[in-house]
Structures are given as C-alpha cells and as structure tokens.
C-alpha cells in the first residue's frame, strides 16, 4: 500500500510539474467548450435574401415581409434583373434568391395557379435544405391563407376540412443546438484525455528508458499500472466539474442523476485508458503513440454520434458504430442530461461500455506485461 502510494505520488508530481500541459488540458475542458458552444450550431439564421420582384404589388410585398419577419432570413437586397441574382449568389453576398412573376398578385386574387421561384445556394447542403424547408413553409401558408380569403368571398363552399399538425419537440423544445454541443464536447474531451494521457504516461517511461528502472523497484506490476492510471482517472473525473459548471451556465438541463453521470464517466475512463494502454504497447516512441492514438480516435469519435447523428449515416457505418465505445458513453450522457432517464433505460449502454473496457483493458495489460517483464 505504501509502495503504491509513493508511486502514485511520483506520477502526480510528474504531472503537476508540467504546468504547460495542465494549462492545455484545462483549456480543452473550459475555454474550448465555451467557445464551441457559443459559436457552433447548425441553426439557420440571418440568411441574406435577394428578391427579384417583377410584380411590385402590395401582395408581393406582403409575401416578402413574411420572409424577413423571421429570424431565418436577414438582410434583403432587391434586384432589378435575373442576372443580378446570379451575381449575388456567385459572390456569396446572397444565400437565397426569390423571384416573383409579373402577374403574381393578379393570379393569387383570381385563384389561378402561379409559380414562385426560389433559388438556393447549395454550397452548404445542410443549410440549403433547411432553408428550402422554411421557404416552402412560408409560401404554403401564404397560399393557404389566400385560398381561405377567396373562399370567404364565396358562400357556396362549405367549411373545408383541414388537418393541422401540432408539432411538439421533446427534450429540447427550443431546438437549441447548444444543449447537444455541450454534451458532445464533454464526452469528446473525456475520451480524448483518458486515452491520450494513458498513452503518454506509459510510452514516456518507455522512451526515456526509465521503465526498466521502475521494473527493478520492488513495485509489483499491477501496482505500477495502478499508480500510472490514478492520475488519469483523477484528472478525467476532476475536469468534469468545470464542464458541469459550464453546462449549467448555458442552461443545459441536467434532468437525470449526477452520480450516474460520474459513474458512466468512470467506466468510460476505464475503457479509454484500456485502449490507451494497448496503443502504448504498439508504439516504440511517444510520437508514434500519439499518432496511433489519433488514428484510432478519429474513426471512434466520428462513429459515436458526437458529431452527426448515427441515424443519418449509411447502414454499414451504423453497424460499425457499435464498435465505438464512445457511442455508448454519448448515449448515456445525452440520456442523463436531456432525457432524464436512469439505469432502467440505459442499462444496455452501461453494460456495453463496461464490456468494452473489460475486454480491452486485460488485453492491453497482457501485452504490456509481456513487453516489460519478458
């Protein structure tokens, strides 16, 4: 026990002496989380609009005001020819162009069919498809209201049945991307620090040749590894605290149990560190260790649903995502934060996350032992 304590103390000392590294890790968990949460979203807002209104009537004005009244569309430029829309889109000064035909108001009043042209810059396909949805919704509503207006003028038509979708969004009623972003950043930082730190502490000793010295001390193999991993776990769990503070600051609901979240994070560190140990046995020096980590981290992060939802990936990649432990950690964290569910719902994810660690950790240890005590 005393040996273990001394060895752990050595690891902590070594870690805290590298203050630049401490700053970087804290930065990753705090400043980076804040910046990303403020800046990044897939929300569509303030699209600049180019309008070619050939009708110039009160009605066409009204339709355009429907667009500008929303948050989705911002600055509006009126143009006097179709070529100008081309230019504005080409130069990136407009994201969406609307062209109203000369007979627009007349057609709407008499109930003839008429077409409005909506031109979108598809450079960012996500923004474009959301913007198209908005534009269609605005025009459809305008059209339905115009039809109702006409019907009111004639008494021969009885009430037409209309089915109205009442849409309710759960877990995140205002559709704030921030909620997702904060949760995703916490998960990514947790996996990253857990894995990389484990790799670094292991390989560093290997590279400087001090691993042999450690092996020669009366320290037993498992004590050595435990001492190495205590700082990884401590940092990994302690750094969740500022992240939780940031989550509260952004108003992210923490509907479930904090304790359960910490439990999940500990299990995640266990499996991340397991991967880390395994990587450290594959690498000859620190540079290799770090690069191999990136090699493994990227696909693992990518297939976890922290960046884009797994549901919108093609089927083969969806199956592959089951291999990424981050997927389970992400589902657990989202579930606890936004949905407020507990073990009764999340037990399969907990089990799989733990199972992943329970497989990779011993494999890593076995390779490590073989490497050191050969």
């Amino acid at each position: 026990m005393q040996r273990l304590f001394a060895a752990t103390r050595k690891e902590f000392l070594q870690f805290s002496r590298d203050w630049l590294l401490v700053i970087f890790i804290i930065w990753l968990y705090t400043v980076e989380v804040i910046i990303c949460t403020y800046a990044l979203s897939f929300d569509v807002r303030n699209l600049s609009l180019a309008v070619y209104d050939q009708d110039r009537s009160q009605m066409s004005q009204e339709l355009i005001e429907r667009f500008t009244a929303t948050d989705y569309f911002g600055e509006t430029v009126f143009v006097s020819g179709p070529g100008e829309i081309d230019f504005l889109l080409d130069s990136g000064r407009a994201d969406i162009g609307i062209s109203l035909p000369p007979d627009f108001s007349g057609a709407v009043r008499t109930g003839e069919s008429v077409e409005v042209q909506v031109i979108l810059s598809g450079v960012n396909s996500n923004t474009a498809s959301i913007a198209r949805g908005y534009a269609e919704a605005i025009i459809t509503r305008f059209s339905q209201e115009a039809a109702a207006e006409r019907a009111r003028g004639r008494s021969d038509i009885a009430d037409a049945p209309v089915v109205i979708p009442q849409i309710r969004i759960w877990y995140n009623p205002d559709l704030k991307f921030r909620y997702f972003m904060v949760v995703s950043m916490i998960v990514v930082a947790g996996v990253f620090v857990g894995l990389i730190h484990a790799v670094a502490t292991m390989v560093r000793e290997k590279e400087t040749g001090t691993m042999e010295q450690l092996v020669l001390t009366p320290l037993k193999g498992h004590e050595l590894i435990a001492a190495k991993l205590v700082p990884t776990f401590t940092i990994g769990l302690l750094s969740l605290l500022p992240s939780l503070g940031i989550a509260l600051w952004f108003g992210v609901p923490l509907r479930g149990s904090v304790l359960l979240f910490f439990l999940a994070s500990a299990i995640n560190l266990f499996s991340s560190a397991g991967i880390g140990i395994y990587i450290s046995t594959l690498s000859r020096n620190l540079q290799q260790g770090l690069l191999i980590s990136f090699f493994i981290l990227f696909p693992m992060m990518f297939l976890s649903g922290t960046m884009v939802p797994i549901e919108s990936m093609p089927m083969p990649l969806q199956y592959l995502s089951y291999l990424s432990p981050v997927r389970y950690y992400m589902e657990i964290t989202l579930g606890i934060f936004l949905k407020g569910v507990g073990l009764s719902v999340l037990w399969p994810e907990f089990l799989l996350l733990f199972a992943f660690g329970a497989v990779i950790f011993p494999v890593g240890l076995w390779h490590l032992r073989r490497g050191i005590y050969r």
Binding site: I25, S41, F42, A107, F180, F294, L303, P309, P314, L317
Partner: protein, 368 residues
C-alpha cells in the same frame, strides 16, 4: 546542405509506418467517413404511431407518412405511456398520435389536429424532420380536399432551384472543405512533433553545434512535410472527383497554386508550435488547440460561420483554414475566378509569410 537535411528527414519519415499512416491513410479514411456519413438529411426516420382512431382515414394519414419515403414505422403503440418509453429509449425519433375522433371530425369537415412528437436532442435533424412531417400532413390535407372535389384551386406553386450543388449532396460541399481541414490538421502537428522530438532527445544540440544554419534546419523540416501535405491534397482531389464524382468547375492550376501557399502557412504554424513547447506531449496538445480543432470547427467546414456571434466570427480569422475553405469551395463548386476571392487570397499570403518569418526568427534567436 538543405538537400542532405531533406534527405535525412525523408528517410526518417519513410522508415516510420505510423507517420505515413497518419499523413496518407488517415486522411483517406476521413474522406470516406465524411463523404458518406456527414449529412443531416435523414431519409429513414424511425417512427412510432399511436393511432387512437383506427379508421380508414387514419390509415390513409399513416400511409402518407410511409409513402413520403422519409419515415419507417418501427412501432405501433397502445397507450400514452408507451409514447414516453419509445422516445426515452431512442427507439423512435418521431411519434405520430392520431386522436380518437379523427375520422369523424375530418368527415364533418372540422379542423382537426394530429400530434407529432419529435426527439429534439439533435436539434438540426429535429428541425428537418419537423419540416418533413408538416409537409406530409399538408399534402394529406390537399389530397383529402382533392378526394372530396374541393380542390384548393389556385395554389401558389414553389419552384425551388438549387445552385452549385443541385442534388444537395453533402459530399459535394464536404470534400472541397476537407482540403482546408486536412492540410491544417496533420502536417503542422507532424512538423511540430518532429522538431520537438529532437529537442526532447537532445539531438537538437548536435544541430546547434554543427555548421547547419537555422534556416537550413527549418527548410529541412518544412520541405518534406509540405511535400507530404501536397501529396495528401492531390490524393483527396483525385478520390473526390473520380470516386465521389464531385463536379470540379474551376481551374486546377489555380487551386494548386493557392494550396501551396496554404500548406506553407499551416506548416509554419507547426514550426511556431515547436518553438513554444518543450515536450512532444505539449506540442501535440498545442497543435490540437491551434490547428486540428479549429480546422474542423472554425473554418466553416461543417458549421456555418455566418451564424456565429460576431466576436467569434472575428476569432475564425485567426485560423488560415477559414480563408482557404472559402477559396476552395469557390473554385470547386462555383467555378469562379481569382477576382471573386482575391481578398481571401491576399490575406492568406500575408498570413503565411508573416507566420513563416516570425517562426524562423524565433527559432534563430533560440539558436543564437
């Protein structure tokens, strides 16, 4: 002298399969992952139906959802409690609840509401799903009126046209952006690691005492990694156009010319990182913060810059990926010429040369 150093560095790189893996294989893996998987468009939304009416009319509405091609029905529910459960467990991301008197109201010609409940955890997709659901119900209403001979005459049709990327395929905007990302994500980190490694091992002292001049040492490090980065870029260009069949509308020499400047800029960042840090672990973390993460997050690659708060829009100018991302998409998708993005190009050149000079000076001072 420089030639010898480049040769030595190249030999070291070629000897290490891991470096080549990260420099060449990882970008290709990422290209495929991003190319196939980054899309917020959902065409197989898992849906649960809580039909309290169980009539011909409600079946028609449900058919309208299935027929749209966006939704797949996974569950039929019998109680409101089950609605909670399927959403909580993530077994469905949208639930359609049809009220008990739905068909009666529809036949009476009343306004009727159906409830659509959507999992909003990932807001961007939820938004698209809710747009789909609304348009399905609207189309159902129109169809209903049509069947009863009350066709809503004179609707305003919408003729949406999408430019630059008509099928709205995300791969078409991902790949041109990926140049900006990958050229900034890995080459600077590799450069920084390779210099700091010499520091950590003490072999840099040997360089200091040798007749090698600091600028030759820098060139010896920068050139091989720039070549790798350039090779990376040609590879992505080839896969992007040949495999993913992304239309390349602009001029190839123009893109290559500007990307050379860009590569030099990003490698200079790596150089700069190596002058600040002492250990490889530090260098890796600093590269992560100043190159890898910003290249993904603050370049406009995935997340549009226009929606960021103003201060953070200014922050994106700190990273050269932002300039190059705009240029690359302009050339690739719009096919416009230099006059459209001359501002970005000039900024990039100033940025790159300033950084290169600063990093070299800092390095020289250390040697002296």
């Amino acid at each position: 002298m420089i030639y010898q150093l480049v040769k030595k560095e190249t030999r070291e790189i070629l000897r290490d399969p891991v470096i080549l893996g990260v420099a060449i294989v990882l970008p290709v893996i990422m290209l495929f992952l991003f190319g196939y998987a980054i899309s917020l468009d959902v065409d197989d939304v898992s849906m649960a139906v809580y039909d309290q009416d169980r009539s011909q009319e409600s079946a028609r509405l449900i058919d309208a959802f299935v027929g749209s091609g966006y939704f797949t029905i996974e569950h039929y529910l019998d109680s409101p409690g089950q609605v909670d459960r399927v959403l909580d467990k993530g077994e469905a991301s949208i639930v359609l609840a049809v009220p008990p008197d739905f068909s009666r109201d529809v036949n009476l010609g009343k306004r009727t509401e159906v409830q659509v409940i959507i999992d909003g955890s990932f807001s961007a997709t939820a938004l698209i799903v809710s747009n789909y659901a609304a348009s399905v119900v609207n189309r159902y209403t129109e169809d209903l009126l049509d069947r009863r001979g009350e066709a809503a005459a004179g609707t305003i049709g919408i003729n949406p046209r999408v430019w630059y990327n008509p099928p709205l395929k995300s791969v078409n905007y991902i790949v041109p952006g990926l140049f900006a990302v990958l050229l900034m994500a890995f080459p600077p980190m590799l450069t920084a690691l390779s210099i700091v490694r010499e520091k950590e091992r003490g072999t840099i002292e040997q360089i200091y005492v040798s007749p090698v001049s600091p600028s030759a040492f820098i060139a010896g490090k920068v050139i091989p990694y720039s070549v790798i980065a350039f090779f990376e870029m040609v590879l992505i260009l080839a896969i992007g156009t040949l495999w993913f069949r992304i239309p390349f509308k602009g001029s190839v020499p123009l893109l290559i010319g500007i990307s050379l400047i860009y590569v030099l800029t990003t490698v200079s960042i790596g150089l700069f990182v190596s002058t600040i840090t002492r250990t490889q672990f530090q260098a890796m973390f600093l590269s992560l913060i100043v190159t890898l993460m910003p290249s993904f997050l603050f370049s406009g690659f995935l997340f549009p810059i226009a929606t960021m708060p103003y201060m953070l829009q200014l922050y994106t100018y700190v990273f050269p990926a932002r300039y190059f991302n705009d240029i690359s998409r302009d050339i690739f998708l719009k096919g416009v010429g230099l006059e459209y993005f001359i501002g970005n190009a000039v900024l990039l050149i100033i940025y790159g040369s300033a950084l290169f000079i600063a990093a070299s000076l800092k390095f020289k001072k250390k040697v002296a």
